[in-house]
Symmetry: C2
Subunit: 115 residues, 2 copies
DNA sequence: CATACATTCACCCACATGGGTGAATGTTCA
DNA sequence: TGAACATTCACCCATGTGGGTGAATGTATG
């Protein structure tokens, strides 16, 4: 089955630690160690999470000497957003149709039992 | 780390087979076997995928005799959408700020080197 | 009742992942 | 150069998952 990129993006944000990392990076860029200190997991675990986010294109890395500075890149969320919105639109339409149906039913009932 | 529901929703849609199942269910409800026939995986694999989608609340099951009829429930995508939109908004703001910055820089340059 | 059909359950396998520890590598700086 | 620091690499472990097969369960129907 195709869809490699969406797999990675959705997979990356399906972990709450990684979502927290993204939230942290939204306020400002940070080093790996800084991120590790902000969460109750080891430095190495943090490093792995960052790699997952990087693979999905959601985090960019700039090596400055011995520091690796991470920053948020929300670009890849574009496609994910489009995918979700498609279903939300479908859903809204479906709810609207249901509403129309109920409305019609009610009118029919009124016609059959007037007041 | 909290965030259980988003984990399940994002995790569910991070697999392209499951996204295909959702796409199929968007056109009409279907039985487990019907879905299994539509994809190059076994009936049992399909059943497992459906369970994942059900756990995330994206698919509802109605048992009619010996048939289990699945239907799409896009409701849980609401929260997922909100999460993504938050970052997209951040991203748009950031791009706008960058644009303003470039604009300002350009004006400064013009002031320094007038025509 | 007996049979066919729909679905799940109970396993198996290979592989990814989220967590950890300790060592290796690379960079800064006194 | 040598020491301190930042990060990754190479492992280990438990668990989940995507795939499979074969048996068990439950329902419909001749």
């Amino acid at each position: 089955m195709e869809g490699h990129r969406l797999d990675q993006v959705f997979g990356a944000v399906s972990d709450s630690t990684r979502r927290a990392i993204l939230a942290r990076l939204a306020s400002s860029e940070a080093r790996v160690t800084e991120l590790a200190e902000a969460f109750p997991i080891s430095l190495n675990s943090t490093s792995k999470h960052i790699r997952v986010l990087e693979r999905a294109g959601l985090v960019r890395r700039e090596v400055r000497g011995r520091d690796h500075v991470l920053s948020l890149n929300a670009g890849p969320l574009e496609e994910a957003s489009a995918w979700i919105e498609h279903y939300r639109r479908f859903w809204d339409d479906r709810l609207a149709a249901l509403d129309t149906f109920i409305q019609t039913k009610r009118e029919q009932t009124h016609r059959r039992n007037p007041r």
